[in-house]
C-alpha cells in the first residue's frame, strides 16, 4: 500500500533506477547547451537566448498544469484551442473598444469556463479525457473563428506589446519570463511538496486505491482541468502580445508540442510518474534543439522529423529500460521471493 502514494518507486530499482529518465533529459539539455555555446555561431548572445526563451514560453507555461494532469492519468488536448479562443476574444473585445485591463481578466475567466467544461465532462459524466478534449479542441477553435473570423487584430497598446516581446535591458531574460518563474516555483512546490501533489501521483498510480485512501479524486481532477484552462488562456494573452496579433488560428498544434515536451521529460503517459524538473528540461531541450536547427539551416521539414523521432524514442526508451530492469529483477529473485512488485506497466 505504501507504494501507491510514494511518488517515485523507480528510485529503488537498481541499475535502471540509477539512470532516471528525467535526470538523463536534464543532462542531455545541459550538454546541448554547452555544445551550442561552443560550436553554433550566433547562439550564445543574449538576443538569441531571449528569442529562444520567448518562443518556448507558451509551451513551458502550459506544460506546468499538463504535467500534473498527465501524472494524474488525464490529458487535455484542447489547450491550443483555448489559447486561440482567448486570443480571438482578446482581439474582438479590443475592437469593441474595451480597456485591455478589463479584457485580460475576462480572458482568464474564459479559461476557467473552458477548463470547467472539460473537467465536468470528465469527472461528472465519467468520459475519457482524451475523447472529451478532442471534442472541445474542435469546439473552442470553432467558437474562436465565429468570434473573430479571419481578421487579425494588431494595434494593442505598445507598453503591453513591449512586455510581451521585450527583454530586460540587454540581458537574455524576456519580461514575460518573470511571471513564468513564479508560476514554476508554485507548481514545483504544489506537485512535489504538498498533499495535493502526492494525491495526484496516487490518482495516477491507481484511481481506485486513491479513492479508498480518502482522496477526493473528482474534485482534484476538476481543479486541475480548471488550472489548465486558466494557464492556457493566460498563454493566449501572452501569445497575442508576443506576436502582436490576435487571430483565431493562433497556437494551432500547440497541444502536440506541449505533450511531446512533457513525454520527453519523462512523464509517464499512463500516469503516476514524473517530475516537473524533467518536464521543464524536456520543454527547453526541444526549444533549444529547434533554435539550433534553425541557426544551422536545417529545413522546416527535417526539424519536424527530428522532433518526431525524438518523441517516439522518448516514449519507447523508458519502457524498454523498465522491461530490461524487470527481466533482471526476475532473474535475480528466482530463488528469493519478489521484494517489491513494480506497478502496472506495459
Amino acid at each position: 500500500m505504501t507504494d501507491i502514494t510514494s511518488p517515485k518507486p523507480t528510485a529503488r530499482r537498481g541499475l535502471a533506477g540509477a539512470v532516471r529518465w528525467d535526470t538523463a533529459v536534464g543532462v542531455l539539455f545541459v550538454l546541448l547547451l554547452l555544445f551550442s555555446f561552443s560550436f553554433v555561431d550566433n547562439f550564445g548572445n543574449a538576443l538569441n537566448v531571449s528569442f529562444l526563451i520567448g518562443n518556448t514560453l507558451p509551451i513551458a507555461l502550459i506544460a506546468l498544469p499538463m504535467t500534473m494532469l498527465v501524472i494524474s492519468g488525464e490529458v487535455d488536448l484542447s489547450v491550443g484551442s483555448t489559447v486561440g479562443l482567448s486570443s480571438a476574444v482578446m482581439g474582438a473585445l479590443w475592437n469593441e473598444g474595451m480597456a485591455i485591463e478589463t479584457i485580460i481578466p475576462l480572458c482568464l475567466l474564459l479559461g476557467v469556463v473552458c477548463g470547467l467544461i472539460n473537467g465536468l465532462l470528465v469527472t461528472r459524466l465519467g468520459l475519457p479525457s482524451l475523447a472529451v478534449t478532442i471534442g472541445t479542441m474542435a469546439a473552442y477553435r470553432g467558437i474562436a473563428q465565429i468570434i473573430l473570423g479571419s481578421d487579425s487584430v494588431t494595434d494593442f497598446p505598445s507598453q503591453y506589446l513591449d512586455f510581451g516581446a521585450g527583454r530586460i535591458g540587454d540581458t537574455f531574460i524576456p519580461y514575460a519570463a518573470l511571471p513564468f518563474v513564479v508560476l514554476l516555483g508554485i507548481a514545483v512546490v504544489v506537485l512535489h511538496a504538498t498533499p495535493v501533489g502526492r494525491s495526484l501521483f496516487a490518482i495516477g498510480a491507481s484511481e481506485e486505491a486513491a479513492r479508498f485512501a480518502g482522496i477526493r479524486v473528482k474534485r482534484l481532477k476538476l481543479s486541475m482541468f480548471v488550472t489548465t484552462g486558466v494557464l492556457s488562456a493566460l498563454t493566449g494573452v501572452f501569445w497575442t502580445l508576443h506576436y502582436a496579433s490576435a487571430r483565431y488560428d493562433n497556437a494551432t498544434g500547440l497541444e502536440l508540442s506541449v505533450i511531446a515536451a512533457v513525454l520527453l521529460g519523462g512523464i509517464d503517459f499512463d500516469g503516476g510518474k514524473g517530475t516537473l524538473g524533467g518536464a521543464i528540461a524536456g520543454v527547453f531541450l526541444l526549444g533549444t534543439l529547434q533554435n539550433v536547427m534553425s541557426l544551422v539551416n536545417v529545413s522546416a521539414q527535417s526539424q519536424i522529423l527530428v522532433t518526431g523521432v525524438l518523441l517516439v524514442f522518448s516514449v519507447l526508451a523508458p519502457r524498454v529500460g523498465r522491461q530490461i530492469a524487470q527481466a533482471r529483477a526476475r532473474k535475480k529473485t528466482v530463488a528469493a521471493p519478489p521484494s517489491s512488485p513494480a506497478p502496472a506497466t506495459a
Binding site: 494595434d155 494593442f156 481543479s223
Partner: protein
C-alpha cells in the same frame, strides 16, 4: 486529504470572486482602450540614399515566403535566386511548411537576424505578427523588403507589390474587349461579395467601361461564387441561362475562372462565350489548349521574386532608402520608382495564351 481538497476548492472560489471584482473594478476605472492607443504610423524609411551608389556584391540575401514548397512561391523565389546570384550575392530560402504558422515565421525572422544576413525578402502571413521581429532586424542593420503580401508600412523598408489594383482592373476589361471585338453583353464572376480586393478591381473595371471605345459593351450583372469551385460552377451555369446573349465573362479570381472554364469546356458555349480574368497557368493550361479560353492574366511570380531581390540589394547598397520618389535600376527589368508608403509595383500583369503558357510552371 479531504481537508486540503476542500480548502483548494474554497480557494478557487475565492480566486474567481477576486478576479470578477478586479474585472468590475477595471471596467469602472476605464483603462487603456483602443482609442487611447495612439499609434505613430509612417514608413520605416530613414536616412539618405544615392541613386548612383555602386551595387554591393557578396551580400547574403534570404527569402522567407509564406510557405515553402508551394509552387507559386517556389517560382517567385527561384526568380529571386537568379537575380541575387546574378548580382554577385548569395541567396538562401527558409520558411515554414504551413501557410498560417505565424509564430514559425517570426522565429525565422529572428534566426535570420541572428545569422546577420544583409537583407530579408519576406511574404508576410500576417500584417502585424512580424512587426516586432522585423523592426528588431532593421535595428540590427538588416534591409527588409516585403513581397506579395505586406506588413504594416513601418515594419519594412519597401513593399514590392505584384501589380496595382488599377492595372489589374483595367487590363482585364481591355483583354475582354479585345476578345469580343468591343461589342456585346458581359458579366463578372467574382469571389465573395465582401472581398475587398475583388471589389476594388471591379470598381476599376466599371470605370474603364465608361470610356467611349467600350460604348457597345454592356455589363449585365456580377455573380458571386465565394471562391468555392462548386458554387462558381453553378453561378456560371446560371449566368448563361439568364443571359442568352452573353458574350463574355470576366472572373478576377483563380478559383472562379477555373470553375467557369470547366463549365464552358463541357457545354455548347465552348469557344463562343469568351472567358478571361486572373488565373494560374497550371490551372488553366488544359482550357487554353482545348480552345475554351483565349487569354487570361496574372503577374509573373518569377519577376516578382526578381524585383524583390533587386530592391533588397538596392536598399543594402544605399541606392534607395524606401522614400517616395526614389528610383533604382532592376537589371534588365528596367527602372522602378518607389511610390506612396514605400510601395514598388511590378507593373502591368502578364497575359498568358497559347503562345507562352508552356513557359510558366506554377
Amino acid at each position: 486529504m479531504s481537508l486540503t481538497t476542500t480548502t483548494r476548492t474554497r480557494r478557487l472560489t475565492a480566486a474567481l470572486a477576486v478576479t470578477t471584482a478586479l474585472v468590475l473594478g477595471a471596467t469602472a476605472c476605464g483603462g487603456t482602450t483602443k482609442d487611447d492607443a495612439n499609434k505613430e504610423a509612417g514608413s520605416a524609411a530613414a536616412g539618405k540614399a544615392d541613386a548612383n551608389a555602386a551595387t554591393k556584391k557578396g551580400l547574403s540575401i534570404a527569402f522567407l515566403p509564406k510557405q515553402v514548397n508551394n509552387p507559386y512561391f517556389t517560382t517567385s523565389d527561384n526568380g529571386g535566386k537568379k537575380a541575387v546570384e546574378g548580382l554577385g550575392s548569395t541567396y538562401k530560402e527558409v520558411g515554414t511548411s504551413s501557410g498560417t504558422d505565424t509564430s514559425g515565421q517570426v522565429s525565422y525572422v529572428n534566426t535570420l537576424t541572428q545569422q546577420q544576413v544583409d537583407g530579408i525578402a519576406v511574404s508576410a502571413q500576417d500584417p502585424g505578427a512580424l512587426c516586432t521581429a522585423l523592426k528588431q532586424a532593421m535595428k540590427n542593420g538588416v534591409s527588409v523588403v516585403t513581397y506579395d503580401s505586406d506588413t504594416k508600412p513601418d515594419c519594412r523598408n519597401v513593399f514590392v507589390s505584384q501589380a496595382s489594383a488599377e492595372d489589374l482592373g483595367r487590363t482585364q476589361v481591355q483583354q475582354m474587349a479585345k476578345q469580343i471585338g468591343n461589342k456585346g453583353e458581359i458579366a463578372i464572376l467574382s469571389a465573395a461579395q465582401t472581398a475587398t480586393n475583388q471589389n476594388t478591381w471591379i470598381d476599376y473595371m466599371k470605370d474603364e467601361l465608361k470610356k467611349p471605345e467600350y460604348k457597345d459593351i454592356k455589363l449585365v450583372t456580377t455573380a458571386y461564387g465565394d471562391d468555392d469551385a462548386q458554387k462558381s460552377f453553378q453561378q456560371t451555369q446560371g449566368l448563361l441561362q439568364e443571359h442568352p446573349k452573353l458574350k463574355g465573362i470576366i472572373s478576377p479570381t483563380t478559383v472562379g475562372i477555373k470553375a467557369a472554364a470547366q463549365y464552358l469546356s463541357g457545354s455548347k458555349y465552348k469557344g463562343k462565350v469568351k472567358l478571361t480574368g486572373l488565373g494560374t497557368p497550371n490551372d488553366m493550361r488544359a482550357y487554353v489548349k482545348n480552345g475554351t479560353v483565349d487569354a487570361f492574366e496574372l503577374w509573373d511570380p518569377a519577376k516578382l521574386g526578381a524585383l524583390a531581390a533587386h530592391t533588397t540589394v538596392a536598399l543594402e547598397s544605399g541606392q534607395i532608402s524606401g522614400k517616395e520618389g526614389q528610383t533604382f535600376k532592376a537589371g534588365d527589368m528596367g527602372e522602378f520608382t518607389i511610390g506612396k508608403d514605400g510601395v514598388v509595383s511590378l507593373g502591368k500583369p502578364t497575359v498568358f495564351d497559347k503562345s507562352n503558357i508552356d513557359n510558366f510552371k506554377f
